[in-house]
């Protein structure tokens, strides 16, 4: 489990964000959106991505206010343990549900196109070991591996979009559909978004300097632009037959079959989908593991892995493995789950941000100085990656804590605040 504790830098976090925001939106989503809202469907991803960025921004604010704490600690400190557990159970349910949907859609895609005569077990035999390995190896390994594939993915997707433009054969008119269809379709597919709540689970592991946040936002923006472009190209290519062509990224490439003597270059879109599927499912498993660990604190990491895979297998075998059923599940069951990332969590985070009105770092340092605690400057520089930044609470040792405790007892005015600081530090040390 040593590897699990490692941290993520801005680039790795950005690439994981890219995978999270992009992956499951390029396969069946554009077709379903078009079916529901007509050509105006191209605005649905834009709208939902704005909400998604809102979540990323909320995370950024929370991370700035609570730089050294986990989301679980923050929830526990401010709302109590019960609320924390409930929220993390919802996290578990959310990621598991989305993993099931993603698996089904991808399974059906491959079953229809390249694995016509093979059973579900072949898929599971491929997917389960790989996603388990990625999730167990840790976020850093996952981030680094995704980093290796990133240039390939970007080049292929850009190529697919460029090639897709050759297939455009119509000029549909905007604003012909009804607003109610638009709203209804948006609500139905709201659960396809909201994956960025994964960030809240890795809050303490994401080590991003202030200036580097633009990298994370940049990657998120790239993924949003690419999804919107795929949706637009698909909508323009299959204006009247979208319902017959469910797999957007693959369908926009179908015009180039045997193109220019290059052969079936549409296969490369399949490669991208396979890569995305592995990483996306691994992130879901990792998210499940982290949530599970917060709910059942003392269990070994093996248990969440086994639980996830078992539920995954049972649900998949009982459930779907059929595109119609997957769509019904996605449109009728999952939208309710969308309440979590877009309603419950933002409210909770908003309240937390309101509660945290003070600047934590400088004030903590001032209090420590007041109480006579000496801060190790060398350690400060090391902790902040070579640059002098505000002191982090991690520099306090047991001796210092006792000193602060004694000081807080003497100065009753500051007692409440210092108790909070000590409590937080002690819980960090215990963890």
């Amino acid at each position: 489990m040593r590897v699990l504790d490692k941290t993520l830098n801005a680039w790795q976090l950005g690439i994981l964000m890219f995978v999270l925001l992009f992956a499951n939106k390029i396969l069946v989503l554009p077709s379903l959106l078009y079916e529901g809202a007509g050509f105006e469907s191209i605005f649905i991803p834009v709208l939902l991505f704005l909400l998604e960025f809102g979540l990323v921004f909320l995370f950024y604010r929370l991370k700035t206010k609570f730089p050294n704490e986990t989301f679980a600690q923050i929830l526990k400190n401010h709302f109590g343990n019960v609320v924390k557990v409930i929220i993390f159970v919802i996290f578990m349910f959310f990621f598991l549900s989305k993993a099931v949907l993603l698996y089904n859609v991808t399974y059906i895609f491959f079953r229809n196109l390249i694995y016509k005569d093979y059973s579900n077990f072949l898929f599971l035999f491929c997917i389960i070991p790989i996603i388990t390995h990625l999730a167990v190896c840790g976020l850093r390994v996952m981030g680094r591996t995704a980093q290796l594939f990133f240039p390939v993915i970007i080049v292929i997707i850009a190529f697919c979009i460029v090639v897709g433009f050759f297939g455009i054969n119509s000029k549909p008119l905007l604003f012909e559909g009804s607003l109610s269809d638009f709203v209804l379709t948006t609500l139905k597919h709201v659960s396809s978004f909201g994956d960025s709540i994964f960030l809240f689970l890795i809050m303490d592991k994401a080590i991003v300097k202030k200036k580097q946040w633009k990298i994370v936002f940049g990657f998120s923006l790239i993924s949003a632009i690419l999804v919107v472009l795929v949706t637009v190209v698909f909508a323009l290519s299959y204006t009247y037959t979208a319902f017959l062509h469910p797999y957007a990224i693959f369908e926009i490439m179908s015009y180039v079959k045997e193109y220019g003597g290059l052969g079936r270059i549409d296969i490369i879109s399949m490669v991208v989908i396979i890569i995305f599927t592995y990483f996306h499912l691994a992130i879901y498993l990792k998210a499940f593991m982290l949530s599970f660990h917060e709910v059942f604190r003392k269990v070994n990491f093996v248990y969440p892995v086994i639980t996830f895979n078992l539920i995954f297998l049972v649900v998949i075998d009982f459930f779907i493995l059929n595109l119609e059923k997957a769509v019904v599940y996605g449109e009728n069951v999952l939208p309710y789950i969308g309440i979590f990332p877009f309603v419950i969590l933002p409210i909770a985070v908003g309240v937390l941000l309101l509660l945290k009105k003070r600047k934590p770092e400088k004030k903590d340092e001032n209090y420590m100085k007041k109480s006579g605690v000496e801060v190790d400057e060398t350690k400060k520089v090391q902790n902040s990656g070579g640059k002098k930044e505000n002191l982090k609470m991690t520099d306090m040792n047991t001796e210092n804590l006792n000193q602060v405790k004694a000081f807080s007892n003497e100065n009753k005015k500051d007692k409440k605040f210092l108790r909070k600081v000590i409590g937080r530090r002690e819980s960090e040390t215990a963890n």
Binding site: Y115, L134, V141, R144, Q147, L148
Partner: protein, 466 residues
Amino acid sequence: MLQSIKKQLHNSVDLADRVIKVGEVDVGFVYLKSMTDNLIFSQSIFEPISNFQGELSVEELQQIIKSNDVSQISEEEILKNVLKGAVVILLSNSEKIVAVDIMKYNTRAPSEPPTSAVIMGPREGFTEDFQTNISLLRRCLHSEKLVFESVFVGITTKTQVVVSYLDGVADRKILKEIKKKLENIKIDGVVDSYYLVSLLSGRPNSILKQIGTSEKPDIVAAKMLEGRVALIVDNSPIVLTIPFVFLEDLQSSNDYYTNYVYSTLLRFIRVVAILLATLGPGTYIALQLFHYNVLPLKYLITIANSTQQVPFTPFIEILFIMLLFQILYEVSLRLPSYLGLATSVVGALILGDTGVKAGLISPPAVIVVAIAKIALYTVPEEAAQITLVQYVFLLIGASLGLLGLIGGMIYFLAYANSVENFGAPYLAPFSPFIKKDNKDGLFMVPVGSMKTRPHSFKNENEDRLS
């Protein structure tokens, strides 16, 4: 005492012991004939002593011997010195013992190593003699900062391992860790540097190469300039370098002696070759067994026509050809060169051609395996690892198809990403992406633009170009 030494060395045939009388004093000589220079012994030791007039003392003995490597040793050190190639001199009138180092044994001259031939650039290679290797390195690095420290490894062999580094460049912590690991090795013998590879690796059971190897002084010197530590093992022409990242094997010394744009092209070709070697046979089988519908029609017809006579499944067919190739490779390595050539001709031309004509194997399968095997040797240092992975991907391709192949690739890369040697991530500077190190990564810039030392691992001085 002479008898005791003889007994301890089991009356070895090359052990020489002689006693002469110089005045009133008996002078005894013990040495190994196979390890000492007979001429120097006669002219510089024996002659001055036998011609000495008067009562010989240890102090006088040290004065008259015409050698700069004379030392007094204790009784316990006699055996060690004799085995090292020294002449041990005992005097009847003194308890003190003198050792004169006149070690000499046959070594081969530095020549171009077969594993790293170059078109341009230095052609010298290391030899089995560690002192020759030290002098070769000294010739590359005329610096007072060049340090050679000695450690003896192996309970029986007591092999000398020279830890070499540039002071102020190599990281102290890495150096300390290496020395600590070397000192803690409790093995009976180290007969070649490769013995140390698994003993120093962070993950000894891993198939990934974790310690750098080179036979060329210019390569080792360049690596030391980057902040790496070199281990010269006596009796081995392969010098180890630590820390190691995969990129090192992707680079060739030729790259630095030709145009950098051309070198970039070559590096891309090497990456493509590695992918072909690793995934080629597996992908061919996956497409043939699982995804024939994604193959272009003309290609599908060609494959169908050529494979319809073959009695085996595609997996068995490819496996058979790969094994055949491996057998031929092993034979050609072990046979004398004239026989090896004949075997290659028989294997490649006759067996291959006859196999196809007999309908046992199909031409596309032969081509796929041939491409994969040739591609393997664009990065010869990684040939062993890639060969192993090749078989794994062949099995995955045959049983799980494209989904399994890509999954296997992700698994393997994730595994490689989890490996760190002395703090250096195995796949750096690609993942994690280190911008500055990528100046000498897949793309190459002119040497003048490489202003800093690698950031993939720690070193004490970042700047190369002032």
